[in-house]
């Protein structure tokens, strides 16, 4: 993500892009949701980290309506209402507070996985695409190999081997995620390689590394930015599947996917327990997809599928 930020900073028209984005109602809706989600995550995340450092974990729920850990058995399994807008769970904990408390881990994992994918995939994809030949063939085989494994299965195997938990989930997801970026970057590198300005650069005495730096990174990132935005939602979706299977943050920490799994026992009578976290994931993923689509409309370019 760091790279993207520096390059979008350099890109002068980024304010203009923002205005164009906000002009469409659906994209504006998505953008607002995303901004709310990430800014909330930053605030809440900082509070949680500081709280755990100074030994006052209650700092983590100072902004929340309820303590996400404290059971109130008298309040258990309440329907969504004005006091508990998403209802309560079997121990009487406010589901909305637990969802808000869990937000930073999802935000962090989406940024790290997408950023890691762009870094690893970008490096490998650009070099493979530009150099061609054997390097490229090996790279193609490698990415195909990783893509042949259904992502969830590969992540499950990785976690079965090394252990369960948030960090393991993150590592597993980076491992399953980079090949798609390697492919995108490779396609970009091949597209740009055939441009005549690369020939001109070669005739100007630039080395291949110079050319990748000067002519490839910026346009490739430009093409990949919409896809990466959309992917933020995909990562959150995917992580929720892992945590649904118990492969994410371990209890008692709340986690959107694992909350769904916990609620299954109380389904269908106390439906909100499982459905509410699921709906939140859906909304955030839709928001990311809307913004990604909007960005692609503005930056131009075709639809990319890995």
């Amino acid at each position: 993500m760091g790279l993207i930020v520096t390059y979008t900073k350099k890109y002068r028209k980024n304010i203009g892009i923002l205005i164009k984005l906000l002009r469409k109602p659906d994209v504006a809706f998505g953008l607002i949701i995303l901004i709310l989600f990430y800014s909330w995550s930053i605030i809440e995340g900082i509070l949680q980290v500081i709280g755990s450092f100074i030994g006052k974990p209650d700092l983590g729920w100072i902004l929340l309506p309820y303590n996400p850990f404290q059971p109130h058995l008298s309040q258990s399994l309440r329907l969504p209402s004005l006091t508990h807008i998403m209802g309560t769970d079997d121990l009487g904990r406010d589901i909305f507070s637990r969802i808000l408390y869990a937000a930073p881990s999802d935000a962090l994992i989406s940024l790290v996985v997408v950023g890691g994918g762009i870094l690893i995939g970008g490096f490998i994809g650009l070099f493979a695409g530009f150099y061609g030949g054997k390097v490229e063939e090996f790279n193609m085989w490698l990415t195909d190999l990783f893509l042949a494994f259904p992502a969830l299965i590969l992540a499950m195997v990785i976690e079965a081997t090394f252990g369960h938990g948030y960090i393991y989930a993150m590592i597993a997801m980076i491992i399953v995620w980079w090949p798609s970026y390697a492919r995108l970057f490779r396609a970009e590198a091949i597209r740009i390689k055939n441009m005549k300005y690369i020939d001109a650069a070669l005739l100007s005495g630039l080395s291949k590394v110079d050319i990748i730096r000067r002519h490839m990174i910026r346009p490739a990132l430009n093409t990949i930015l919409p896809y990466a935005t959309l992917d933020l939602g995909n990562v959150i979706l995917f992580y929720s599947m892992l945590s649904f299977l118990g492969l994410g943050q371990q209890p008692p920490y709340p986690e959107w996917g694992s909350m769904v799994a916990l609620g299954l026992e109380y389904f269908p009578k106390w439906w909100w327990y499982s459905l509410m976290p699921g709906l939140v994931i859906l909304i955030i993923a839709v928001a990311a997809a809307l913004v990604g689509d909007g960005l692609r409309d503005i930056l131009g370019g075709e639809e990319k599928w890995v």
Binding site: M195, K196, Y197, D199, A200, A201, L202, L203, S204, G205, L206, S207, R214, H215, R218, P219, N222
Partner: protein, 323 residues
């Protein structure tokens, strides 16, 4: 006809497609395409050589060989006594000719990086010369002025320019280092007629000012006639006729040259020119003997079986059994 540019029996072939493992297993031979086939040419400093031919004649490949964007399979290309280095070779970085051979491409929209400013684009050939920044800027502005643009373009981007302006930028980039030789690959064929004459005039003016040597690639006989000092007519990878422009355009000797020149529509004549039949055969499987015989109005038996050799007639090289 000179010794500044010497092309000596150059051949370049490509595989018609990539070789795969299945071809290995099935023992399939992949056909070769002889894009450039035994071409020898010579040119003086400061002159313009036009490579004239239809698509598939190998003129663009020859142009890319001359600047070192491709590596010849056999034969040599010398510029000013120095062998042209291939840009992918390690020796390229040490060569005296590095950065001294430039090329202007046909499609102005793909020849400029859309993400860079004009200043960055035009200064690109200078960045490896380790010059002070203000010196670079001065040379960039000078090059821009030479192609008829001014300082105000420095911070613009290619997308803001018209096709003709982009081609001017590409020319500025090619001449900013005062190169030895510039290959111009159909620089005007993507432009409007009214812009084409502007660019052609500009190229002639720059050549006179800087004493540049041009290799000009085109399929348009009218453009060739205007700009050429020497013309090499190419057909299926071979030069079928080479001579000074005056000679070739006034009295074409090779039947293909004759057909090419007579196919140019004449303004103010309401009659379609007569022309030969057939199309350029595939380079994968060229006809035996003289490659032109299936379309040639004068084809003899000899033409089908025997490949004509280059003969020199009145200061001109022709590959035809008629002579």
């Amino acid at each position: 006809m000179g010794d500044f540019l010497i092309i000596n029996n150059v051949t370049k072939t490509y595989l018609a497609r990539r070789r795969t493992i299945a071809d290995f297993i099935l023992r399939r031979k992949i056909p070769y395409i002889r894009a450039v086939n035994g071409v020898s040419l010579r040119l003086d400093r400061g002159k313009t050589l036009v490579l004239l031919g239809e698509s598939g004649s190998g003129k663009t490949t020859l142009g890319r060989l001359i600047v070192g964007l491709e590596k010849p399979d056999s034969g040599k290309i010398l510029v000013d006594g120095e062998e042209v280095p291939y840009v992918g070779d390690k020796s390229y970085m040490r060569s005296k000719l590095r950065g001294k051979l430039q090329m202007v491409f046909q499609d102005p929209s793909s020849s400029l990086d859309p993400f860079m400013t004009i200043k960055d684009i035009v200064s690109e050939p200078l960045i490896k010369l380790h010059m002070p920044k203000n010196e670079i800027l001065r040379m960039v502005i000078e090059a821009l002025e030479m192609v008829g643009l001014d300082k105000s373009f420095l911070n613009r981007r290619p997308i803001e320019l018209s096709g003709g302006q982009r081609q001017r930028i590409a020319i500025a980039r090619a001449i900013v280092t005062r190169p030895e030789l510039v290959v111009l690959d159909e620089p005007t064929s993507a432009l409007d007629v009214s812009i084409q004459s502007q660019i052609l005039n500009l190229l002639v003016k720059i050549q006179r000012e800087l004493g540049l040597t041009y290799v000009f690639i085109t399929h348009d006989a009218r453009v060739a006639r205007f700009i050429a000092d020497y013309v090499a007519v190419m057909y299926l990878g071979k030069v079928v006729e080479y001579g000074s422009a005056d000679d070739v355009f006034n009295e074409p000797l090779h039947p293909y040259t004759q057909a090419l020149l007579s196919s140019v529509p004449k303004v103010g004549v309401r009659e379609l020119p007569k022309t030969i039949s057939g199309e350029v055969p595939s380079a994968i499987n060229p006809p035996s003997g003289c490659a032109f015989w299936p379309r040639c109005p004068y084809a003899m038996n000899k033409c089908r079986n025997e490949e004509p050799q280059t003969k020199v007639i009145n200061n001109r090289e022709v590959r035809c059994h008629l002579y």
